[in-house]
Symmetry: C2
Subunit: 456 residues, 2 copies
Amino acid sequence: MDISRLMTRSMKSQSWGLKSARIMEAALNAVNPQTAVLHCLKREDTQLEVNREIYDLNTFDRVLLIGAGKAGQPMSEGVQEVLGDRLDRGLVIVKEGYKTKNNLTGRINIVEARHPIPDIRGVKGTDEVIELLENTSQNDLVICLISGGGSALLVSPVPGVSLQDLQRLTEILLASGATINEINTLRKHLDRIKGGQLARFTSPAKMISLILSDVVGDPLDVIASGPTVPDGTTFKNALAILEHYQIEDQIPAPILEYLKIGEAGMVEETPKPGEQLFAKVNNIIVGSNRTASQAALEQGLKEGFNTCVLSNFLQGEASQVGKFLATILRQVAIHNQPIPRPACIIVGGETTVTLRGDGLGGRNQEIALGSVEELDGLDGIALITLATDGGDGPSDAAGAVVTGKTLKHALTLDLDPQSFLARNDAYNFFDPLGDLLKTGPTPTNVNDLAFLFAFE
Amino acid sequence: MDISRLMTRSMKSQSWGLKSARIMEAALNAVNPQTAVLHCLKREDTQLEVNREIYDLNTFDRVLLIGAGKAGQPMSEGVQEVLGDRLDRGLVIVKEGYKTKNNLTGRINIVEARHPIPDIRGVKGTDEVIELLENTSQNDLVICLISGGGSALLVSPVPGVSLQDLQRLTEILLASGATINEINTLRKHLDRIKGGQLARFTSPAKMISLILSDVVGDPLDVIASGPTVPDGTTFKNALAILEHYQIEDQIPAPILEYLKIGEAGMVEETPKPGEQLFAKVNNIIVGSNRTASQAALEQGLKEGFNTCVLSNFLQGEASQVGKFLATILRQVAIHNQPIPRPACIIVGGETTVTLRGDGLGGRNQEIALGSVEELDGLDGIALITLATDGGDGPSDAAGAVVTGKTLKHALTLDLDPQSFLARNDAYNFFDPLGDLLKTGPTPTNVNDLAFLFAFE
């Protein structure tokens, strides 16, 4: 990425503009899907080292590549760069529009499907993945690539249940107030792949699952609905959730029927923690919010900042988070605490925005807008927010920059932060100020980052 | 204070209970009003040193003591301890119930008045203060004691305006959505003392104003409406605020009349920054949220913790703040960032609670409740919240303690944090768990503190 894309119009005229852009660049580079895979797979002749485990390629008849997720294409390129001709066949499902000019050999197929609402292309692609895994033996090695969006792309409804049934279920669950964990419990018990079940198809081969995490805290069983990870939930749990929200009579009949058959033990449960099935599965996070923030930490130190990571678990209402981050930056600016100037504090995670208006913006821009008043008047500081996928909400911005002068600048243009906040219109607040960060789409997604800078 | 009052029932059985209690004790001791005054006034024979400025007591005919605020009594005791017989006369107004067994000589009078809604006793007390200051000469020294509540206690409406008029104005302003700064602009222009005007009565004497700050960020012009501090606002500003909120026709006629007379220049403006009047005034913060957190920082280091102060400017919706603090503590617990275990992170400020239910609680208990789910499952951590005045909201608790086991403990008692949060009922969530901190009232108030602990 051209570094200038990591600077807002206003940053380009600031002495600190380039330094802070380089820190963001380091963060994004570390989680570039291809780089992240290369960083994780080390090969020396026939020895493949993955996270300290050694695989001797000579012992395998075939090496197969499968996977699903937005980052499937560049991750595949990374694997091919390491394994080259040693890769026998592969099929990876990506979101439509994410299949790029193909640097892959004919043995690796990239197919597109719909996201976030799955379509028949996803089902067909998944069938082909399953087909590819037929007749795997213990002398095969399967490399699986998982990234954000994988749950919708790698989809295979259980017999009798249609895609439309699943979609209707999701709508009802969301409306009922069910949590994402509860929704996933249902999903895992209505799909042939999710909740560790992919391992049934790869067994008895060894599997290396390379995971680019787009979920805060990197819970393996949640990312892409954990196709390669043991599932702690049961059919009984799934039915209890429907009962709890009193939606049993709303959901499509085939779903309820299937879950009851499952509870009666007439279809197999998802594989559970401790099952032998997973002995040959090696799940590895190749990139995550933490990878990005650690890279930013290193670059921050190189750029001469006192640098720390405050959290990779950021959550909560975006505007409130912005206010909170501002109170910390105020402390740095005025009291040189928790670290003294020049300071760079890195925070990562994923906030939420409760929609109150019909403005344009996203989580990251709203964090920035929430900080404007609290940062007013502080000298030599900047708060920068960044959606690592380059797209914050439905806007063409990735985030925004706020300094101690932002409020005054805005008021000269008659822009009142409170009224923009009230209608979730951060984009149109920052756009006229030249304070929007417009990176364009990146090939990765490890959620959001925020940087608190206090300069010398 | 007995240290056991700084432990919850549950903390007493924990190895870390006493350590964390000692850190909180250090924080509270540092802002004990008497201690804080003693810490600030150094006397050697006739030399009185205040914040590096030396006053030769021999050069003064009289030393007078005035003041207002909840901490007036112990602050007065501190001054008397230093000046003893050198104090000639004094009158300090405190909140009703705050006048304690008198250790003061007959020359120092403590009178009680109503707070937060002022009453005639406050007006009378203020008249007596003004009377006491009659005939001050440049050979007098006035020591002024300001603490939380001072604005309601030191009150002297301008001619023609009644206490009831002022009260009605405040109600209308609050309902209109006016900010506290806007409300203060009005107050300062409708009172004979606020907004630096007390200095008119002490002039030409020298004045030392000792201020115990109960306002986040310690803005001198805001604490007790800044009776000894220049005022940047004008009659014109005051009228513009009424116009802005379109409430001119609602407010009592004498108020509008007085403000218009003021704008026309027919009564004196409040004294402005740079005015000669303040050359003889020495405003000193003797204690604040920062004082308390710095003392906690020192004690934390003594107790063997890696310790830092994250902010003294904490604000925002309490439950959201709780969530945010939990994401930081989670980072410490899992990644040893921003500081490694054993860690103590100190945060101070004042949050707000948007009332949604009729439960029992306060800001500090609600911060704790907001953190429960995010802290679930973490080992060897605790989040403790503390209202430094010992009273959090209308409850008899000062705060609460949350650990990684709190959620499970609560669920065994069928207590669901979300439903308690929904009705602002933190007290009744923590009470059955034995996790409420009940210090009883303290003599001080420097707002709120929160402590994030990760133990070895």
